[in-house]
């Protein structure tokens, strides 16, 4: 992962634009898999980058930027999913797995979405980080603020459940 160092004084926006460009794919993919709602995930990703801008001063020079961004994004996703305003409608929509605007819709992808929808949010996030992306268990545990053992358990259970559902549907 790319370490990033910024001046103590002025933070050049062009460097931040580069940071957005480098990490947007991983962050958006993680949030899409965690939320299940692409539009909400992209909103959260944008919000995550704005929060990251405010907190750049607190980022250690050798920090894993991608993991740091995913951590911020995960907290925002949890807040959004738990908020009374959004969670009911969006979780219901996710459970139904309606086709999402702009998303490719092959059979396999829909089957995967259904399978992901059946997982609790923490398992979804663990699977998204460790199976869909290339985060280690330790990194994912840090991002999700979970004990390593719990994280591994989420990944194992999530993986087994996904494979079980996919076996039936694909």
């Amino acid at each position: 992962m790319t370490p990033v160092a910024f001046d103590d004084g002025r933070r050049p926006p062009q460097d931040f634009a580069g940071l957005v460009e480098r990490h947007q794919q991983a962050l958006r993919a993680f949030l899409r898999r965690t939320c299940g709602d692409w539009a909400l995930a992209d909103d959260l990703a944008q919000d995550t980058f704005l929060t990251a801008w405010d907190r750049l001063d607190r980022l250690a020079p050798e920090a894993n930027v991608r993991a740091w961004l995913c951590g911020i994004g995960y907290n925002k996703a949890l807040t959004a999913l738990r908020s009374a305003r959004r969670s009911r409608a969006r979780e219901a929509a996710y459970q139904e797995v309606a086709p999402m605007a702009g998303a490719p819709a092959p059979e396999d992808r829909l089957a995967l979405e259904r399978a992901m929808a059946s997982l609790p949010v923490e398992q979804r996030a663990a699977v998204a980080l460790c199976l869909a992306a290339d985060f280690s268990h330790a990194e994912a545990a840090t991002i999700l603020a979970l004990p390593l053992g719990t994280l591994k358990s989420h990944v194992t259970r999530g993986r087994a459940r996904l494979l079980q559902i996919l076996e039936d549907k694909i």
Partner: protein, 102 residues
């Protein structure tokens, strides 16, 4: 990594966002610019209000003091100015039209 994991990974790769997404990046940077503008405006407003408040509070004390100081300093400033002028003319640094000789 097992075949199952490879299969899952391949499925997940189907809905990856694009690696380069200029539209998304532009949206983020535009939102950031808006936020910075709002923060700058809030800071300027805050400092302006603080300055105005300070002037309003200190005005009754500072203005008479400045006036008193100005009354006392005016003759001294006049003498210093006249001396500098004379020195300039006599040493040739100043031209008769008061411009500097280069």
């Amino acid at each position: 990594m097992s075949d199952s994991d490879d299969r899952l990974k391949a499925l997940f790769a189907l809905d990856l966002p694009p690696a380069q997404d200029g539209f998304f990046s532009t949206e983020v940077m535009a939102a950031l610019a808006c936020r910075r503008f709002r923060q700058d405006m809030a800071a300027v407003t805050l400092w302006s209000l603080a300055g105005a408040l300070a002037l309003a509070l200190l005005g009754p004390v500072v203005v008479p003091a400045l006036q008193a100081m100005a009354t006392g300093l005016a003759p001294v400033a006049l003498e210093i100015g006249a001396t500098m002028l004379l020195l300039g003319w006599t040493t040739g640094v100043l031209k008769p039209d008061l411009s500097l000789r280069t």
